[in-house]
Symmetry: D2
Subunit: 366 residues, 4 copies
């Protein structure tokens, strides 16, 4: 499996940034699900570029479903979603064929594919490939909604500006997730969001870019999901998260705090409150790789967009000589606010994977 993920429901991703289309085949969906195309379109919009702090490449990002849908419902056979590329400026990239951009996959793709990759705009490695992932995630979310599973992601940190963390209070957390759905720039504290936007604009002005940390919470996840080895809940989510271009770190629950605290501080005591709960949630809803019924909590480190307008040193692969490179074209000074919806999408895909694997043998429990 290279560009396919999943066991019972599988996702096969295809396309290049400057090719005819990007898309995804989702196979194994239950039949008869009314696909909410308006919801898919809204998710696509959240992934899109916003104002001055994003690329000026504007794609319609219209999702066409060319198989697996009949009379508005899933048929149970493979659902194929196509997103045509319409706003490519391929000429911007011609000079980059052999001048590999630092921080990008240009060089590694060149080695891996022996120079045959579609180099334009990063080809298959482009952030554009996250468009079909978001569309697929929207379908996964629809299924999860039938179990009341919901999720949200905000910018916990952008350079040195920090947002509040998600609340430990169940009702407050639910509200925070709801409000994130309605927010264009995803922070819990609006004033901090303004600071971040200002900082990103300043960074853009400096011809530079910036990254940050996203924090995600998922509520109403049933206990018992995940498999002990190789497919722990953390394994599945991290496999998916590290597929998102720009992700360089993933940690669950209290993350780095596990390194400098005692066991007595980090163990979550069990309590009974209309079911088994934990008094704290340092473990982010996961014990031994299996969900424990508490909200899932994790953070994702997003690196600064590698495309910057400052001159950079690189080599020309035709001559192996070092050259100065100034990237042209349209780029984001930050992608972190757009990445949040991709993180939500793969989270939905990952949890649905764990649920379906768990359900497969359920009928044999009497």
């Amino acid at each position: 499996m290279k560009n396919t993920f999943g066991t019972n429901i599988t996702y096969t991703l295809f396309g290049e940034s400057h090719g005819e289309a990007v898309g995804i085949v989702i196979d194994g969906l239950p039949a008869g699900i009314l696909i909410d195309q308006k919801f898919i379109a809204e998710q696509m919009d959240k992934r899109k570029a916003v104002g001055k702090i994003s690329t000026q490449r504007h794609e319609a990002d219209k999702v066409e479903i060319i198989s697996g849908l009949f009379e508005g419902h899933t048929t149970g056979t493979p659902l194929t979603m196509l997103i045509k590329n319409t706003a490519q400026h391929s000429n911007d990239y011609q000079s980059l064929r052999y001048r590999v951009r630092p921080g990008h996959a240009d060089y590694t793709a060149h080695v891996k594919y022996h120079g045959n990759q579609d180099y334009r705009g990063g080809g298959h490695f482009s952030g554009r490939l996250t468009a079909p992932i978001v569309a697929a995630g929207a379908v996964a979310m629809q299924l999860l909604q039938t179990m009341n599973i919901d999720m949200g992601t905000h910018i916990l940190q952008c350079h040195q500006i920090k947002d509040n963390s998600f609340s430990d209070n169940k009702a407050t957390l639910k509200d925070q997730i709801q409000r994130l759905k309605e927010t264009e720039f995803p922070v819990l504290e609006p004033a901090i969001g303004k600071d971040m936007i200002q900082f990103i604009e300043k960074t853009a002005h400096m011809k530079d870019s910036v990254g940050g940390v996203l924090e995600t919470a998922v509520i109403n996840v049933p206990a018992g999901l995940g498999e002990p080895f190789f497919n722990s809940m953390e394994s599945t989510l991290s496999q998916l998260l590290f597929s998102i271009p720009g992700v360089k770190g993933v940690s669950f629950g209290s993350g780095t705090a596990f390194a400098d605290h005692y066991g007595s501080e980090m163990n979550d005591s069990f309590i009974y409150e209309e079911g088994v709960k934990t008094a704290t949630n340092h473990n982010g809803g996961i014990n031994g790789g299996i969900t424990n019924g508490m909200p899932l909590r994790f953070t994702t480190i997003i690196k600064p967009t590698p495309s910057i307008y400052k001159p950079q040193n690189t080599i020309d692969l035709e001559t192996n000589k070092e050259v100065s490179l100034t990237i042209q074209g349209r780029h984001d000074p930050a992608i972190i606010h757009r990445a949040r919806i991709v993180v939500d999408a793969v989270t939905a895909i990952g949890i649905l994977e764990a649920i379906t694997c768990s359900q497969a043998i359920e009928p044999f429990y009497s």
Copy 2:
């Protein structure tokens, strides 16, 4: 796939802490490899308990190969390694059947398996399952050695005590990896190691436990490994790392520094020095999910061992009443020094996975 990892070479893990044996089936190995059983035994030794700072459960950890080996060489058919359990004190656990230990998988396993799990010593979720992983990793390492790929892991941080980071100098890094092989307590700076050991002993005395951060480096990894989506080099390694009990975070290259630095600071310029290299290695040897030929670099957060001797609050699953729990038995106040060899093992497994997937189509390149 639940307890199986891999595409061309697969690893199927089985066993429980207090069952008859733990083991692993490795399928798809090339035939005719002389298995170095002494090397396997050495790796097993590094995983074992050390002195006062480790559990007093002492297992022989003798690896028996019961299939797939003939006249000392691999046959090409499934290689099965068994490690018999010999030093179980199962009685220590009887009182824990329904009194779930905080921070452990006791509760989540109970839910997942509807109360039928082998609860003794964590059953299949026990750190004991890392013994066959280490044995399998030793076999993977033997294959990687034919490509000069080598790796090492040290304790970068234990509570608030910090070791130096790996060197960026290629020769020094090679030496550091070599020295780690000969070290019982894996740090780059011996004096710091003494401080850490002292701190762990003090923690044990307090009936508490402690975690930390491991740093891993892999050298001579060829460029071009990993697959763009879902199976990026980071995806594969993180999937494996998050299978190790106690791992709560994984980050590549400069990790958290990506969050508060500019793109111009974090992009690694390409240079030419007997091949394409990067001037810095903030990206940890991976661009766009694909290896770039520089050393792989990543860190792993290990949580404090959840078994502590202090009384803790929990609930009894038979009565749903809260109870005070004092764990008996033999436990580690820290596992981070033992975990490093498990991290090395899954790293070897992950890189071998990426190599074999890449090689499968190689003959069609002329």
Copy 3:
């Protein structure tokens, strides 16, 4: 995996007979392969309806490659082939929504997908789905040609009319395979082909349909392909062959003759003739599930097309009442002459699967 096949090179099939398009994503192809689109078009033509003995639905069957191809060569990233549906007469099927056609998947799809399947023309179960399989097979054949692997399939039997079997002589067999490429109605003995065509026309006139047996030979298959259990060469080929609509039997080598002959008659003695060969080839080039270097030989039973113009008894799923059904629309009185190219396609896919699995570990052999 539902509609995906393969380990290192994967094929994901999608589409419905009367939807917008059918297609396939091929992932894992080596990069830099010049795709011969004329060859693909020729294969598509061989699958098409021929003269009076085939359906009057005429599709252009133009294969559009919308990803994974750059400057005419494979990029190494997923190659997506789309074949738009253009000649649907969906109205022909409206009356069939609940009147399930005997011998078809109408009823089983209705149960499996809880009534949500696209029932028009068999939906995803239509023979139309073999179009992208043929296109994918053409790509696989291009890779196999670099190893001189070639294959051909002819109609060994149509009702009671029988063609000669493939020759055991290597040079003659090569000629026979070559001639089948140039033949519209695939038989070794042209006079017999005329009889079969006449018989099929007569059958059409009777408003009935007919099936038969296909025989396939593959030459220059290297020895050593296939895996002992679950993925023997026979397992892989039969898994693929039984995915072709209408296939009801597969046997290798001498097939039914194994049932009524002695071991001494059916064992193939080894001889040495510029390499190890067998004196006879009763085992069809496979011993113990692994190829032995002799030509692969197998037969495939194709059932009569279930769509016939005679009235048939069935039930109406809305009322559970028995009704008489007369199928309208455009149908083939026989598909066996069209199926041969689908059999060739999946054979190519199966052999390429075995080769790539075998190659994955090859570099570790010194």
Copy 4:
């Protein structure tokens, strides 16, 4: 995947004929299943050698469960079954190291594994590997019994002696399956069984061997199992059946009769009798690759045992010279009566695979 089968429940097979043990890891079983070890032992007995018509190698075939079982019930974690080899006469094989036995995997294993295979008694290719398959099948059968799914296999043909076919009458078929469980030599017509045994004894006397055809029926299979492409019910069963050593053909329903009958003869009309049924069952319970609720029916061609005592011609791989070979040791003149229980086992495994894949998404149907 090489020696692993399955999606939600996986089976990993290991071992060699003359190694320490053969075995299988079953992963993904529901927890809490009381494993009926007596039933497993009975199945093992049916696979064993019977009287004069079987090999004189007598193995205890005691199945030890070394993981995944706790207090007699499955734990939900990998269940490992070991069957120790105790009655090897490895010396019988020393002379065969380079003298490859016709009809066996000796030569193909030698090529595949570059001469490193365990050549003794066929190594991993031995029929001995069917012992753990039978044990695993017994576990799968236990799960299927909760759905009343049952199956039986008889010898339809042994050389030219033919048994009756399974009845189309539901009650009679159920009785036939029940009686086969109690029969050592599996035929529907006892007198015919005596003839077959006599014929096999005569064949043994001639130092020769004989094969035949098995017929299998499965009752109470729910409609809707199987996936349209690549994993049709026929694909899954044939993949498994062709993993059994000696199987050379598989056909479903009326098999070869599909080749020489009209569509109007072979289509099964739908009728309503306490549910949707078909008036006939030519399609063997499968339409379009999906089960239709009628009994599954298929036949399997078993080749004559390749080990015969007559001298045969072969080559010596050390010298590439042709030599005469007379096989020593203990062999079966026929394995067809033993193979039937292996066919039952993989049938159970295949149906359980289809059920669990189908169940995975069931909760999303409201």
